[in-house]
Point group: C2
Chain length 290, copies 2
């Protein structure tokens, strides 16, 4: 998915959010944001938003001299999500279709920026209960379920911290639905924004799935830039689950009919692209065939 | 009032809004917005937001080759406001304190971007009725009323089109409250965003006040850059009424205790400055004395 002019401003906004966290002087913030705007002014037409993110965050890291700028928020996200999962897991497992409910929870988890300081646990919990009542805007769940029955392998591409905790329950439900399926979880090589890294995925997925390094250092996944093991699993697995907007932006032009996009629409550019309102939950089979 | 880093992004957003109206090609929008970001990257720390607006809009005018880019919207704003005034004027005039109600209507008129295509007349009307129920966040109305009793001259600095129609009723109520007062209305020299121009003010204020040219070509008022007649009236009038955020941003550091700021807080930067939430209506006497 190609970025448009709105993504230029969104990228500048992301820069300011990071600068606000790390710089106190208003004058320095002003100057640094202008430096970032100069970088953004040089972005070539045709880039994907996640490629813009890669360039921006590598520049920001230089300024603030820090590699993992959302480290604290990511940890907090996982803690909050684990605590919420404690409360909600039984209801999902006991529901009429645990696989469906778990998929919805995993997609809802994508909506909430769990690391945002204004989100306390109770608010996140209530928000999730509210979201779970909403239907999917695109719903290919039944096709997914049918294909899962005959699958022997699933590649699950995770997105953010926090959300990844709910992904674990969804993966457990996938395994309960089809115990013969082997599951690989692909995560980022190194920290980028609040995306889950390989290290984090290994902690969370411990014992339920094999974690692989996608080779990605951008806030999404682009096949041509990915690791060999990722490419192999991407093309050979019976089902590929892509979580979140960043992975959607990078993979939506792939010709791979085994691919499912599970995301919450978080920005007007993706909303226009999918012709659905922001906030919509999507469980969508890729339509581009080989 | 000095701009901060948020104003850099707001200025880029304003640029994109204009580009969206005048350019169809997504690639050209991308390139032109990047041009604007380069200009914004050169803004000196210490500028007022309205000074940034002046530079930006003069660059945008070059790109789109048009002088009065909000001409249509301004006309539509005035038409909608006149039609709403028809419905609401009697209630204001018959109220317990028509001067107070008219001031509130004039401030509420500032909140609504009457030119926005999504605002039809009925929606604007309902929104205004809703706003009129809210109290002022800062309320120096009683002091204003007392000072008005003894005043012989008032300088009234108008802000946007649409809003200016409600200003007229407020000015009429000022004259009914103190028939011996002489009223001067200051408006912009030439079109800038949706600010009311001298020409427009003359049409709307016809017969009820003397219109003067403030000398301003920026979306606000800065005394050092204003016309001689404006400066004379600004310092010699018994009361000065400054409408809207743009005029507030330019005048809030003036040492003039006859000055009142009537505005609706429309952005987080002014909200932080006044320590009040966005959307708050303000009727505030200037605290800086000579």
């Amino acid at each position: 998915m190609k970025a448009d002019a709105r993504c230029l401003i969104c990228t500048a906004n992301q820069a300011l959010r990071v600068l606000n966290k790390h710089i106190r002087s208003e004058e320095e913030k002003w100057i640094r944001l202008q430096d970032m705007m100069k970088v953004i002014s040089g972005f070539k037409w045709g880039l994907k938003p996640i490629e813009m993110g890669e360039i921006l965050y590598s520049e920001i890291e230089k300024i603030i001299g820090k590699r993992d700028i959302y480290e604290k928020e990511k940890r907090r996200s996982n803690e909050i999500a684990l605590s919420i999962l404690d409360k909600i897991e039984k209801a999902v497992r006991d529901s009429a279709d645990p696989l469906y409910d778990a998929s919805k929870l995993a997609i809802a988890g994508n909506l909430i920026d769990l690391g945002a300081p204004s989100w306390d646990e109770e608010r996140v919990y209530n928000k999730i209960l509210e979201i779970l009542e909403k239907p999917f805007g695109i719903n290919d769940y039944e096709t997914f379920k049918k294909e899962l029955s005959n699958a022997t392998s699933v590649l699950f591409i995770v997105d953010n911290s926090g959300e990844i905790v709910f992904d674990r329950l969804f993966i457990e439900m996938i395994k309960e639905y089809n115990p013969s399926v082997q599951i690989f979880v692909a995560a980022k090589s190194k920290p980028i924004i609040n995306d889950a890294t390989v290290q984090e995925a290994e902690e969370i997925m411990n014992g339920i799935a094999t974690v692989i390094d996608s080779g990605m250092t951008i806030p999404g996944t682009i096949v041509e830039k990915s690791s060999e093991i990722f490419r192999e699993l991407f093309f050979e697995s019976d089902i590929v689950v892509s979580k979140g907007q960043g992975n959607f932006e990078g993979l939506n032009e792939e010709e791979n009919e085994k691919l499912y996009f599970l995301l919450t629409i978080k920005c007007p550019v993706v909303a226009d692209f999918l012709r659905l309102p922001e906030g919509t939950m999507v469980f969508m089979k890729n339509t581009k065939k080989r």
